[in-house]
């Protein structure tokens, strides 16, 4: 018997108590049934075809599959890299410059057409020097004579920027940025 005070006959140790759990076990007959059922289930497992995603997974887990997966990945990365390089290459930049020049030429042709209509060059006309940005107001109160037509939260008026098409075209030809911040119309409530 152990001399350890823990193992004196007066005291039961937790480890000893837990060791009693080992005596809980099925009878041998249970294992016969267990083996039969397990064999049946294993047979079913062997017969059953895996779902497609598992087949793909198992295919890629093999060395050949891994090789295919690796080469596919490399090919995809290569396509992405080459495509990126082509887009940012000098030839692509040249194409962009050519496109811009072509656009400028078209704009110049439009302005020539506009100026050809008048004997005086357009840039010297009153409209070009003092473009009319006047705001015209269409108000419901104006239409109805100002009485009994206005509604709360209803649209009261529409303000539109009136701008001559000829002036617009000429200005556009001079610079793309002239009207960048121009609001065409505004609606007031």
């Amino acid at each position: 018997m152990s001399s350890d005070p823990k193992h004196t006959p007066e005291k039961v140790d937790l480890d000893e108590l837990l060791a009693l759990k080992r005596t809980e076990r099925p009878s041998p007959a249970v294992w016969d049934r267990f083996d039969r059922e397990l064999h049946q289930r294993m047979l079913q497992t062997l017969m059953k075809k895996d779902p497609w995603y598992l087949q793909i997974f198992s295919a890629f887990s093999r060395p050949i599959g891994q090789g295919i997966a690796l080469s596919s990945t490399v090919a995809v990365i290569a396509v992405i890299v080459i495509r990126t390089a082509l887009v940012t290459s000098p030839s692509a930049a040249v194409n962009l410059v050519q496109d811009f020049q072509q656009e400028e030429q078209e704009q110049a042709m439009i302005s020539q057409k506009v100026t050809s209509k008048n004997s005086v060059p357009f840039f010297e006309t009153e409209a070009a020097i003092n473009p009319d940005y006047a705001i015209e107001t269409y108000s419901a109160s104006d239409v109805s004579g100002g009485a009994g037509f206005e509604r709360d939260f209803g649209m009261d008026r529409i303000e539109t920027a009136n701008y001559d098409i000829a002036v617009y075209s000429a200005d556009l030809a001079r610079s793309h940025t002239v009207f960048a911040n121009t609001s065409v119309a505004s609606i007031s409530f």
Partner: protein, 212 residues
């Protein structure tokens, strides 16, 4: 008279299976199965079914579920044996599958739990511990067996699954801390800490018997 020590010898411990010779033997069988000899898998089933069953039964406290989950564990291992590379021993690997299968089952059936106790072997009544308990409590042997079984199972079920796992593997299956750490994929320190906490809990649940 049989002692708790003799129970350990009779039941066999997973520690014995973990020896290098056993590991080599298991690996040889695994290689046969991987080569297509499905029948060789039976040897592994015969060798580990009782250990796997014991782990799962003590995790669930339901013998029908435990038998079903033991089969499931062997099926899962069979399906995955082609991917087993032998980096760990086979018993570590299959114990891990058993633990994971039990954990999944417990999570799924968190709200639906039935208790179904296993038969207690006659050996329990022959142990020295049992003799001591009987003499002190002056209870009839049959009644004490049932009471003790219920109390032990209830106490284990009160622990969290992670703490229960560590207690089962160490106290019932007799595994070393390092082996448990490998199975549960945690550090040895974590295993020790969980075991310490779990045993403290069990001490309080089972104090009637410990102080008898």
């Amino acid at each position: 008279m049989a002692t708790a020590g003799s129970v350990t010898k009779t039941f066999g411990s997973a520690k014995e299976s973990a020896s290098a010779a056993q590991r080599d033997l298991d690996w040889a069988i695994v290689e046969k199965v991987q080569a297509g000899n499905v029948g060789a898998y039976d040897q592994l089933v015969q060798k580990y079914r009782e250990h796997i069953y014991s782990i799962i039964y003590n995790m669930t406290s339901n013998r029908e579920d435990a038998l079903d989950l033991t089969q499931e564990t062997f099926i899962k291992a069979f399906q995955a044996i082609g991917r087993f590379k032998g980096k760990s021993s086979f018993f570590t690997w299959i114990y891990r599958i058993a633990i994971n299968t039990s954990m999944t089952f417990l999570k799924k059936n968190r709200r639906r739990r039935f208790i179904s106790y296993e038969n207690v072997d006659d050996e329990m009544t022959k142990t020295e511990v049992f003799e001591r308990l009987t003499s002190k409590s002056r209870t009839e042997k049959g009644a004490l067996v049932q009471e003790l079984q219920e109390k032990l199972n209830e106490s284990l079920q009160k622990l969290s699954p992670k703490h229960r796992t560590v207690v089962i593997l160490h106290e019932i299956e007799g595994l070393e801390h390092a082996e448990i750490a490998e199975i549960t994929k945690s550090s040895v320190g974590t295993v020790r800490s969980r075991l310490h906490y779990a045993k403290q809990q069990l001490q309080s649940y089972l104090q009637d018997y410990l102080n008898a």
